[in-house]
C-alpha cells in the first residue's frame, strides 16, 4: 500500500503556513518606516512641563514657585478656519486673522500659559482642532519683592537673570514627554504607554535657599522707594549684610520690576540690579578705608592733627571742602566725622600710589565681589601708573574710582568685624532634584585688611560721625551706630556734571558688636537736597527703626522672641 505524498490539503496548509509566517514577520518585525508611520498615527507625543525648583528665603518662605497652567494649540489638520471668530476677545486679533486662513503645518500656539479665566473660556468653546497642554507657570508670590535677586525666567522656564539664571542648572527640570493614544479625530485618549525614546526627567527641579530675610527686604524696599520719591532720585540701592559671615540679608534696587508681569521685563533700567551691576564714585563713604590704609602703614597717626582749609592746591588741581568754609585744625577722627576733603587729600598724598592701589585691591575693589549673582561689575580702579597729579588725593576723597554698592558694603563690613574681609553671599544652600545638597555657602574669610586696633579706631571715628558729625540724621536713641556719609559728583565722559550727585550712607550697628551693615545709595536726587547726611542718612535711620520693630516682635523658628 503506497501512500500518496502530495494531497490538496498540503497545498492549503502550505498556503496558510506562508500567510501565518508573513503575518508573524510583519507583526513582529515590521519595516521601520511602517512602524514610525503607525506611531505617528496612533500615538501622540505630548510635552509635559515639570516643576521648576523653588527658591526660598532664609525662613523657608517660597519666593519663586511653578504652578500648573494651561496652554492651547491648534492642529491645522483638524482645524476649521470658520471657527476662528469664536475666539474673538479671548486671543489677540492678529492671531485670529492668521487662524481664519488656511494654515500650513501641524502646530500653532493659541494661548501659552493662559490665565485661569482665559483657559476656562477656550475650554468651554470646545472647538475642534484646539488641543490643551498642561504646563507650569513661574510665579513670584511677593511680586516685585526681591525681584533683582530672584531674577526671572523665559516662557520655557529657563532662567534669564538673577538667581534663576545663576542656579538654572539645579532649578530647571527638562520637560517630560507623555505618549497618549489618538483617535481618528485626533482627540487624545487616556491610554498612555511607556516611552523608550525619551529619558525620564525628574518631576521637580532642585531648591535654592537664600540668605535674604524677606521681612527686612520688604522694609528696605519700602523705605528705599520712599526716599527715591521724596528726593526725586533716578536710581537707588540698599544692601544689608551680616558683617560676621558675609550673608546678604537684603538687597534692594530701584527702579524695580515685577517678574510676574512680562511687560516689565522689557525695560533694561528696571532689570538692572544697582547693588552689583552699577558702579558709582563712592565719595566720602570711602574715606574710612583710605584712613585705615594710612593708619596701617603708619602714614597717619591716630592722634595727629591736620590743618583743613577750604581749598588746597594739589599738583595740577584743587581739592575743596563740600561746605562754604574750611574746618581749621582737625584730628584724624574729626576728618572722618566732619568729612573733610582737604584733610583727606593730605592723607592721600602721604600714601604711595602703589601702596594705596594694592591696599584697595586687597579690599576687593576693581575685582569681582564673588557673590553668586550674574551681572556683577568689578568696578573701576585705574592702575597706579595713571595716578598722576591730583588723582591720589581725589581717590582719598572717594572720587576718580568706581565701585559697586556691594563692594563698598563688604569693605565697611571689614571695619565692623575687626578687619576681616569676608566674601558676600546671597545663597545659603542649594539642593538638587533628588534632595542632595550640592552647595552649602558658609563664611569665607578672604583676608585680613585691617588690624583689630585700626578697625576699632575707625569704628569709634564712625560712631563720632553719627553722634556729632555729618551723619546725625541717622541717629536713633539707644542704639550706637557707626557710619559715614557720602556725597559724590557724577562723572560722564571724563567730566563732573553740575547738579548731579550720588548721596550715600554706609554704617553698622550696634557698634560694640555689629550685627548689621547697611549701605544706602540714592542716585541723582533732584529736589534740592543732595548731601548724604540729608538724603541717605534719614533713609538709613528709617530702615534701622523698622528693622528693630521687626526684631522686637518677631519670633524665631522655635517660637522664642529673637530680640
Amino acid at each position: 500500500m503506497k501512500r500518496r505524498f502530495f494531497s490538496p490539503w498540503h497545498i492549503i496548509f502550505l498556503f496558510f503556513g506562508v500567510v501565518i509566517y508573513r503575518l508573524a514577520v510583519l507583526q513582529l518585525f515590521p519595516d521601520p518606516r511602517v512602524e514610525s508611520q503607525s506611531r505617528r498615527q496612533y500615538w501622540s507625543h505630548i510635552p509635559v512641563s515639570t516643576n521648576r525648583g523653588m527658591i526660598y528665603d532664609r525662613d523657608g518662605n517660597a519666593m519663586a514657585v511653578s504652578v500648573p497652567a494651561s496652554s492651547f494649540f491648534v492642529d491645522p489638520a483638524f482645524w476649521d478656519s470658520a471657527s476662528a471668530h469664536q475666539l474673538k476677545g479671548i486671543i489677540p486679533d492678529p492671531l485670529i486673522q492668521t487662524l481664519s486662513k488656511p494654515i500650513p503645518g501641524r502646530f500653532i500656539w493659541l494661548a501659552r500659559k493662559a490665565d485661569l479665566e482665559v483657559a476656562d473660556r477656550i475650554r468651554a468653546l470646545n472647538i475642534k482642532g484646539v488641543f490643551e497642554i498642561e504646563e507650569k507657570k513661574r510665579l513670584y508670590p511677593g511680586g516685585s519683592l526681591l525681584s533683582h535677586v530672584l531674577g526671572f525666567c523665559d516662557i520655557d522656564d529657563r532662567g534669564l537673570s538673577g538667581t534663576e539664571l545663576m542656579w538654572d542648572k539645579e532649578l530647571f527640570s527638562p520637560p517630560g514627554i507623555r505618549v497618549l493614544a489618538k483617535d481618528s479625530s485626533g482627540q487624545m485618549l487616556e491610554i498612555s504607554r511607556i516611552n523608550h525614546d525619551y529619558a525620564p526627567s525628574p518631576n521637580e527641579g532642585g531648591s535654592v535657599f537664600l540668605t535674604i530675610d524677606s521681612r527686612i527686604q520688604f522694609v528696605v524696599e519700602r523705605r528705599l522707594e520712599e526716599a527715591i520719591r521724596e528726593h526725586g532720585a533716578r536710581w537707588g540701592s540698599v544692601v544689608c549684610m551680616d558683617p560676621q559671615n558675609g550673608e546678604v540679608i537684603s538687597m534692594a534696587s530701584w527702579p524695580t520690576f515685577d517678574p510676574n508681569i512680562r511687560e516689565d521685563l522689557k525695560k533694561p533700567a528696571n532689570i538692572l540690579n544697582n547693588c552689583i551691576g552699577r558702579t558709582y564714585e563712592p565719595g566720602s563713604t570711602f574715606k574710612p578705608l583710605i584712613l585705615g590704609v594710612g593708619l596701617e602703614r603708619g602714614m597717619v597717626g591716630p592722634n595727629e592733627s591736620f590743618n583743613c582749609p577750604y581749598r588746597i592746591k594739589v599738583a595740577d588741581g584743587h581739592i575743596t571742602e563740600a561746605g562754604n568754609s574750611g574746618f581749621g585744625k582737625l584730628t584724624a577722627t574729626e576728618i572722618i566725622s566732619k568729612s573733610s576733603n582737604t584733610g583727606m587729600a593730605q592723607i592721600g598724598i602721604r600714601i604711595k600710589p602703589f601702596d594705596m592701589y594694592h591696599a584697595l585691591r586687597e579690599w576687593g575693589f576693581g575685582k569681582p565681589s564673588g557673590i553668586e549673582l550674574p551681572g556683577s561689575e568689578d568696578g573701576l580702579l585705574a592702575s597706579p601708573e595713571q595716578w598722576r597729579g591730583v588723582v591720589p588725593s581725589n581717590i582719598a576723597i572717594g572720587q576718580g574710582l568706581a565701585v559697586t554698592p556691594l563692594q563698598l558694603t563688604t569693605a565697611i563690613a571689614a571695619i565692623a568685624n575687626g578687619g576681616h574681609l569676608v566674601r558676600p553671599h546671597v545663597v545659603s544652600k542649594v539642593m538638587d532634584a533628588s534632595g542632595n545638597t550640592v552647595c552649602v555657602e558658609e563664611k569665607e574669610h578672604l583676608r585680613d585688611v585691617l588690624s583689630p586696633q585700626v578697625a576699632r579706631w575707625l569704628n569709634r571715628a564712625m560712631v563720632e560721625t553719627v553722634l556729632s558729625g555729618t551723619g546725625q540724621g541717622a541717629a536713633v536713641p539707644g542704639i550706637s551706630i557707626a557710619a559715614k556719609t557720602g556725597t559724590a559728583q557724577v562723572a560722564e565722559r571724563g567730566q563732573y556734571l553740575k547738579g548731579r550727585w550720588v548721596s550715600s550712607f554706609a554704617g553698622f550697628w550696634p557698634s560694640s558688636n555689629p550685627r548689621y551693615v547697611l549701605h544706602v545709595v540714592i542716585g541723582e536726587p533732584s529736589k534740592g537736597k543732595y548731601y548724604g547726611g540729608d538724603v541717605a542718612a534719614p533713609a538709613f535711620r528709617r530702615i534701622l527703626e523698622d528693622m528693630m520693630q521687626i526684631e522686637l516682635f518677631a519670633e524665631d523658628q522655635t517660637g522664642r522672641m529673637v530680640f
Partner: protein
C-alpha cells in the same frame, strides 16, 4: 483495479481522519492562544488606564500641593501682611517701646534656682544693652 483504486481513497480519508483531530486541536490551541493574547492585551489596556488614572491623580495632588504652597507664600508675603495689617486692621508701628535686655547670667541657672542679682543700671552699649528705647512714634506713617 477498482478495488485497487478504492484502497488509496480509503487511505487518504483515513490519513485525513488521523490528521484532522491534530489540526483541529492545533487550530483550537492557536485560537485560544490568540484569544488569550487578546484578553491579556485588553487586560493590559485596563491596567494602563488604571495606572494612568492613578498617575493623573498623583499629578493632580502634586499640582494642588504646589498651588497651596503658592497660596501660603502669597498669604505670608510681607507686602500683603503689611497692607492687610495697616489697612484692614488699622495697625500702626509700636511707639514708645521699651525693652529690657538682661544678660544670660541674670537668669535662673539650669537647676531652676534663681540668683538674687541686683539689677543695676549699666551703659547702653559696652556693658550689654540695658534698655532699648524707640522713641519715635511712627504712627501714621
Amino acid at each position: 483495479m477498482r478495488y485497487g483504486l478504492e484502497v488509496p481513497e480509503r487511505s487518504v480519508s483515513g490519513s485525513i481522519r488521523k490528521i484532522c483531530p491534530y489540526v483541529v486541536a492545533i487550530t483550537l490551541c492557536v485560537f485560544l492562544l490568540f484569544t488569550g493574547l487578546g484578553v491579556l492585551r485588553l487586560y493590559s489596556f485596563r491596567l494602563e488606564c488604571r495606572l494612568n488614572s492613578v498617575n493623573r491623580q498623583i499629578e493632580s495632588y502634586n499640582n494642588h500641593r504646589v498651588l497651596l504652597k503658592h497660596e501660603l507664600s502669597t498669604l505670608l508675603s510681607p507686602v500683603r501682611l503689611f497692607g492687610f495689617s495697616k489697612e484692614e486692621l488699622g495697625m500702626t508701628y509700636a511707639s514708645n517701646v521699651r525693652v529690657l535686655k538682661v544678660d544670660g547670667g541674670y537668669f535662673a541657672n539650669a537647676a531652676g534656682q534663681q540668683e538674687e542679682v541686683p539689677l543695676t543700671k549699666t551703659g547702653p552699649e559696652e556693658e550689654g544693652w540695658f534698655y532699648f528705647f524707640l522713641e519715635r512714634a511712627m504712627a501714621g506713617e
